[in-house]
């Protein structure tokens, strides 16, 4: 069950949005700055504030990564492969109007309008660790509601075993989906997936905001999932469809490079990626590497999902 606090969470508990705003305006003022990496996000208007109650029981007690870093250092290939591409190019994404189709093996398939979703479920704030497969990590105060609540509405059929997430396919809005000289970086649309029990786990969050604000485009607006015990790419962004299926979905990265990216992709310091040792990570904003924790520190809550599984094989 959710642990709720009576007091309204204000974003001041994390970082005062006014503070990052004034910083961003300052940055926009400096003309030369526009040419520098990480700064171009200043060109985008700051998202509107979003109220949510902090779920203390599900939140880490750690200082969040700077908003400025969390919104300028992103992997979101729909905008481009470089870390600063999403912040630079995210203006082309239109997060309204937006709807999400939830269907497949369910009793009550339904298309939800984004604003309807925001009204249907009470929003909570959760401070989660985000661990990228590239061996860096952030602490982010997300705003959203458990995926289990949404799936409950559509009533999964007994035959459903997996949940598949599909990101918007629209090369007009996503420049990274236009083929380049060497073809496309990934097969679009981006597809991710979870086992049904992982999807129903109370940590799995449908996310619509962060840092007390509506989700910025470069972070997966208007709606994404956040699965904090898995590498970041498992948390699909800008979702238009959630489908319950019988077979394990063919996910984007596993299709692109099955040897490097498995379906489960649980954060696991003992299983190294051919390119990055996963034993350590760099927390953005820190100097020294930290040791990476099994399941990104969520082992006590999720390890039971995998009892009896060889996680070296199911990486």
């Amino acid at each position: 069950m959710l642990i709720k606090r009576a007091e309204r969470f204000t974003s001041n508990d994390v970082t005062d949005p006014a503070l990052y705003l004034s910083r961003r305006e300052l940055m926009a003022g400096a003309a030369a700055w526009a040419l520098l990496p990480g700064a171009s996000a200043a060109a985008l208007p700051a998202p509107a504030p979003l109220q949510a109650t902090r779920n203390v029981g599900r939140s880490l007690n750690e200082p969040p990564t700077k908003y400025e870093h969390a919104t300028t250092y992103n992997n979101f290939y729909e905008f481009g492969v470089d870390k600063d591409d999403p912040a630079r190019l995210a203006g082309s994404l239109r997060p309204r109007p937006w709807s999400v189709r939830v269907d497949g093996l369910v009793q009550k398939p339904k298309t939800f309008d984004i604003d309807e979703l925001l009204r249907l479920f009470p929003l909570e704030e959760r401070v989660y660790a985000l661990r990228c497969v590239e061996a860096w990590s952030m602490i982010i105060p997300w705003i959203g509601f458990p995926l289990a609540a949404l799936l409950g509405r559509v009533e999964p059929a007994g035959s459903a075993r997996f949940v598949e997430f599909t990101t918007l396919l629209d090369p007009e809005q996503f420049p990274g989906q236009r083929p380049g000289f060497f073809g496309s970086s990934l097969d679009w649309p981006y597809v991710e997936g979870l086992r049904l029990d992982e999807a129903l786990h109370p940590l799995t969050l449908v996310t619509v905001g962060m840092y007390g604000r509506v989700l910025p485009n470069q972070n997966g607006a208007p709606i994404r999932v956040v699965v904090p015990w898995k590498y970041g790419f498992k948390s699909a962004k800008s979702i238009v469809r959630i489908r319950l299926v019988r077979e394990q979905p063919a996910t984007a990265w596993a299709r692109a490079n099955p040897r490097e990216y498995g379906f489960y992709s649980n954060v696991n310091p003992a299983v190294s990626h051919p390119r990055w040792s996963q034993a350590t990570e760099r927390r953005i904003g820190e100097f020294r590497r930290r040791t990476t924790l099994p399941f990104n520190g969520y082992a006590d809550q999720v390890a039971a999902l995998y009892t009896g599984m060889d996680l070296r094989k199911h990486y």
Partner: protein, 217 residues
């Protein structure tokens, strides 16, 4: 070439090779290295190591194509700058990235092919930097020195592979760099081929005749 001419040629090379470092220092001083400064510095230094290495490898082919002698006079300077950048790139990895965690670094050198390749590229460049002085050219003798310094191409290939291996799906700049390297090697191979054919023809023609100009090395 006159002393003055050499200075006029080399000054821009010094400026161009030091500019990326100056920019990096300026960014560091003004907090503009982005969210992951260590990665930014590593990558910037790696990029410039490769670019300058390619520039040094371009001088001989450029001389061939232009039929000019001046490009070759810049080769050593560019090569030494490439080596200096490689050393900085490597030092950042040791000091900032791993903070002297020798066990982890050793493991990475053995287990991550891209690190192995980078290490080999640096090791290949080292004897070239050491023997880059005029004194060393004399001591080794021109022939042996030239043969040793062909390793520069091996270093180029290793560096290009290092980049291809580390670059993630979707990136393309690694292939462009490899293509430039292939082009530079291609010019040399064609040149060697043409020279070998000419030499053989000249040798054939030389039976009973005086050596022709084409047989000059």
């Amino acid at each position: 070439m006159t002393r003055r001419g050499r200075i006029v040629l080399k000054l821009p090379v010094w400026a161009a090779c030091l500019a990326p470092l100056a920019l990096l220092a300026w960014r560091a001083a003004t907090d503009q290295l982005g969210a992951n400064p260590i990665s930014f510095v590593t990558n910037t230094l790696g990029d410039w190591t490769l670019r300058i290495l390619l520039a040094s490898l371009a001088m001989t082919p450029l001389g061939i194509v232009l039929g000019a002698a001046w490009p070759v006079t810049l080769r050593r300077l560019l090569g030494l700058f490439a080596f200096a950048y490689a050393c900085l790139h490597f030092s950042v990895w040791i000091v900032l990235d791993f903070f002297f965690d020798w066990a982890r670094m050793g493991e990475d050198i053995l287990k991550r092919p891209y690190i192995t390749l980078g290490m080999l590229a640096l090791l290949t460049l080292t004897p070239l930097a050491v023997t880059s002085t005029s004194g060393m050219v004399k001591r080794l003798g021109g022939r042996a020195w030239r043969r040793l310094h062909r390793l520069a191409y091996a270093a180029g290939v290793l560096a290009a592979l290092h980049f291809i291996w580390l670059a993630k799906v979707g990136r393309t700049d690694q292939y462009w760099h490899a293509a430039v390297l292939a082009l530079l090697l291609g010019v040399r191979l064609v040149h060697w081929g043409v020279r070998a054919v000419r030499r053989r023809r000249a040798a054939a023609a030389a039976v009973g005749a005086t050596p022709s100009a084409a047989s000059r090395p």
